[in-house]
Symmetry: C2
């Protein structure tokens, strides 16, 4: 067992960038956003070979517009809303999180060489993408999902 | 729109480490593995506040045992199996991928202070964890999943 060390840095490089018409981060209304995800020049176009056999992809991206001083290390009310409980940053999906990683399942529309077009990616124009994985049924939850009421309320306008 | 640059490094730090009885990476049989995920000392225990209201979590981790020279930049046969098609590294979930990010949905068993216990995390003992997010129904696919036959075959023994 390895123990936590402050200087255990892990250095990543973007594998792609997001291109869309959302210049700014916003809390809701991401459902209809169509984005292009364009591979970086250092990766081969073959990295997308066969991707259109899958309907959905998981995109891991970096919330690079979130300033470091705004990162929550403990708990906060989701979206700063006092009507929702004070919960830990790992019990919510907000962007002000350690490592600023975003993660969303998107629907794949098409591939064109080094570019894929997807629907429902909640990332702004220019966002660095760190990984793209195909969604397989076997990786989805095998049991019923339980979640608190506040999270259902929070999500009510997200994909409108 | 920002364009791809080779030197766009993104530096992350582990938020937790995995503790379990799997010392080595293996392709299959991850279904019954129980793991502890222990927060690093630099994060407050409150980061897990309220997490047990959720049944499932997404864990993003780093395949730190994969040597850099084994990373696939283009396409390969999944698991090196010639009977499966040559597909791009972003059309498969193998560990030999750019940035070596792993991502799995696990079932949460319990929380004890800075430690959570989970089932079905396909990571070895000591693996650095980069993020933990609660699974919300609204973030799961809203349409039917389509995936190629090879991926269903590949996954057949994964969770046994």
């Amino acid at each position: 067992m390895k123990f936590a060390e402050n200087n255990d840095n892990i250095t990543l490089q973007p594998v792609a960038y997001v291109r869309n018409h959302r210049p700014e981060l916003q809390d809701d209304l991401w459902g209809d956003v169509v984005s292009e995800v364009v591979l970086v020049d250092t990766l081969a176009e073959e990295a997308f070979e066969g991707i259109t056999e899958f309907s959905h992809l998981e995109i891991i991206f970096h919330f690079d517009r979130v300033p470091e001083e705004k990162i929550i290390q403990g708990a906060r009310h989701p979206r700063g809303n006092q009507e929702w409980p004070l919960v830990g940053i790992f019990a919510q999906r907000g962007k002000n999180r350690p490592n600023r990683l975003g993660l969303t399942i998107v629907r794949l529309l098409e591939r064109n060489g080094r570019t894929i077009r997807v629907v429902g990616l909640d990332a702004v124009d220019g966002t660095p993408v760190l990984d793209i994985k195909p969604v397989m049924r076997e990786f989805l939850p095998r049991e019923e999902i339980v979640q608190p009421e506040w999270s259902t309320e929070l999500m009510s306008q997200y994909w409108k």
